[in-house]
């Protein structure tokens, strides 16, 4: 792995250069809410944030995506949207980068989902998380505030400069195009990075114990515990929509006159409608069934199918829940359930 430094004041120039070739997506500030958005100017970037409210999945699995449009006259014409441009996501946190590696399992199956091509065309420039939030627990889910495993290039703010780790070939190509802006990292830079990294690690106060959780859940599916856990859940979709690994979607044809589009939109397993059959029967009739399903999907089904827990410890779901349904608490308590 190549280690370099980039002067902080040169980041705009780096982004400027990238803008000529890539669609650049970066955290932006919408009245205090930080969200990923396509930028046309480096000044739109907002890099002083703990985490974005909406995760980076929103770039590759957009909340609303047009799969194709159609029009109906004497004949029916179907048009697919153009193939995606080369994209650069700047400033995503390690947890979000890790979440994309998890989503790869979902969309990279036998059928080519639009996600796959977009993912291939996307370069991730990560940003080490120096001030984790009270809800963060990424160190429990195989990541860490400075984890560079899932990004192509990882930046760490070490004061005047960014410490730059070039992780993949994609990252190498990107940095080589702007090689004039980078300088080799000195030992002092590395020391500084290590020091900040450790501080960030220690700032993470919450822990989730995930050892053997898939097996434990296997035993307690029928436990009344789930009813108890779900009592306070309101059944909204806030946790699923801010979750970087939740990926369920719905498809609809939206028409106006003779024209229309087939769209796919995020859907949530917390809604009763999500599982309701055409007959009216709902196999998950109560909130208990739905809450349990969400926990099982992340901590049992996913580990069984893909050998990885579908949670990256970003803490967003914990933070946005209006009634303090807390996944760490749920998992901790699930471990203690005796049948």
């Amino acid at each position: 792995m190549e280690k370099m430094i980039l002067k902080k004041k040169n980041l705009p120039e780096f982004v400027e250069k990238a803008l000529k070739e890539y669609r650049v997506i970066a955290p932006t500030d919408n009245e205090g809410i930080i969200v990923f958005k396509e930028i046309t100017n480096p000044s739109e970037m907002m890099l002083n944030y703990a985490n974005t409210r909406i995760p980076a999945k929103s770039v590759l699995l957009q909340q609303t995506e047009t799969l194709f449009t159609f029009s109906q006259g004497k004949t029916v014409a179907v048009t697919s949207p153009e193939v995606n441009d080369k994209t650069l996501i700047v400033g995503l946190r390690p947890c979000d980068a890790q979440s994309l590696a998890i989503l790869d399992h979902v969309f990279g199956g036998d059928y080519s989902d639009p996600y796959v091509e977009k993912r291939e065309n996307t370069i991730l420039v990560g940003l080490t998380c120096l001030n984790p939030e009270i809800t963060c627990f990424c160190t429990s889910t195989g990541g860490g505030p400075s984890c560079a495993e899932y990004t192509d290039v990882q930046l760490t703010d070490i004061g005047e400069n960014y410490y730059v780790e070039v992780v993949t070939d994609k990252g190498k190509t990107l940095t080589e195009r702007a090689s004039g802006l980078f300088a080799p990292a000195a030992e002092a830079d590395e020391r500084k990075k290590k020091e900040l990294e450790e501080k960030a690690q220690n700032a993470i106060t919450r822990t989730m114990h995930t050892d053997g959780i898939a097996e434990k859940l296997e035993e307690i599916f029928e436990s009344p515990f789930w009813r108890k856990i779900a009592l306070k859940c309101l059944g909204c979709a806030a946790c699923t929509y801010v979750c970087p690994t939740c990926h369920c979607f719905d498809m609809q044809d939206e028409t106006a006159g003779t024209r229309g589009a087939r769209i796919r939109v995020w859907d949530s397993c917390m809604y009763p409608e999500y599982t309701v059959h055409a007959s009216g029967h709902n196999p998950r009739p109560e909130r208990m069934n739905r809450v349990r399903n969400r926990v099982y999907h992340k901590f049992n089904y996913f580990p069984k199918n893909c050998n990885v827990i579908a949670c990256v410890g970003c803490g967003r779901g914990i933070e946005v829940c209006p009634v303090n349904v807390d996944i760490i608490d749920v998992i901790d308590k699930a471990r203690e359930v005796n049948l």
């Binding site: 969200v35 909340q63 809800t135 919450r206 009592l231 059944g235 939206e254 009739p285």
Partner: protein
């Protein structure tokens, strides 16, 4: 302030009654200064109950959120009552639901708590960015005295209160079976923010709301947290006809938020739960307060009052009907 021992004692007495299923109150949350709704099925469970200005949730949402499955043969419906701890605004929500016949007075036992206003957790986070384990909140001369991590800060209440609490007209519950704490003098709503917005031009108003609706993710936390949003099927979930499309864009988001506000016209009791729950900070109470103001001015009507019927189900022969051509 409500005495915790008294609250727990009351809740225990209620939960022990044979005609009571459970009592819903508040307990310490799972991290920081968060408070969580708490369901007590036994007197021991009620030992966890707390009440403080951090108890932001409106628990009146729960009775109608319970999903009732079809009864099995020979099974009888559990008709036992539910106990709920209600602040002033929460009690108004229950009163409004009674008026709409969503719940029967006999369905619930209300533990009214006199409320001096709850803290906006988003404002608190800007004052105390660090984790607040074991935060203690007391009140002194119009200030909140906050103690956490060995540090004590005194902050004027207005700087921390939830916006809707600053001019609360019903700090003391309007309907209850037991009342705890001392009655609190009501304030007067001045609709300052609504008036500011009313003065803007149409373009300026749109510009103001555009940025806000643009970031709506349609998670419906506002709806699900709202005690008055209890339709069996929400209009936004209906597929045929589809009143609001599933596409998440400015146009549909605006339609959703405005339609929801209309459905709450004359019904919203102003607790601010929607605004507090919104993960993208859309100031929903500004719309709800506008409608509340209009209802007062146009129809001399307020939600959850002694009226026999709610405004939109009422007909008056002497209605001037000036808006009808």
């Amino acid at each position: 302030m409500v005495n915790t021992d008294e609250l727990r004692k009351t809740a225990k007495e209620i939960v022990e009654r044979e005609d009571v299923k459970y009592v819903i109150g508040y307990e310490k949350g799972t991290y920081g200064c968060r408070i969580s709704p708490s369901f007590a099925f036994s007197p021991e469970d009620a030992d966890k109950f707390v009440f403080s200005p951090l108890c932001v949730q409106n628990l009146a949402v729960y009775p109608l959120l319970e999903e009732k499955l079809p009864l099995k043969r020979g099974e009888e419906e559990d008709m036992r009552k539910v106990g709920i701890v209600v602040k002033g605004c929460d009690s108004r929500a229950v009163a409004q639901i009674f008026q709409e016949k969503g719940l029967d007075r006999e369905d619930v036992i209300l533990i009214g708590v006199c409320c001096t206003g709850v803290i906006d957790l988003k404002k608190l986070a800007t004052q105390f960015p660090e984790p607040l384990e074991g935060l203690e909140v007391t009140e002194e001369n119009g200030n909140f005295v906050l103690t956490a991590n060995g540090i004590t800060k005194t902050i004027p209440k207005e700087e921390l209160l939830l916006r809707t609490c600053i001019h609360c007209e019903n700090p003391t519950p309007v309907v209850y079976d037991v009342l705890l704490g001392e009655e609190v003098a009501p304030s007067k709503e001045d609709y300052q923010k609504v008036k500011e917005l009313e003065e803007k031009s149409l373009e300026e108003k749109w510009e103001y709301w555009e940025k806000k609706f643009e970031r709506c993710i349609r998670c419906y936390a506002c709806r699900n947290v709202c005690p008055l949003c209890y339709c069996k099927e929400c209009m936004v979930d209906h597929l045929s006809p589809q009143w609001v499309r599933r596409s998440v864009n400015l146009s549909e988001n605006a339609a959703w938020n405005i339609m929801r506000a209309f459905h709450l016209a004359g019904r919203c009791i102003g607790c601010g739960a929607c605004e507090q729950a919104c993960p993208v900070d859309i100031p929903l109470m500004e719309i709800n307060k506008k409608l509340e103001k209009d209802m007062k001015e146009l129809f001399d009507y307020e939600a959850a009052t002694e009226e026999e019927k709610s405004l939109l189900t009422m007909f008056k022969p002497d209605d001037p009907g000036e808006f009808i051509l």
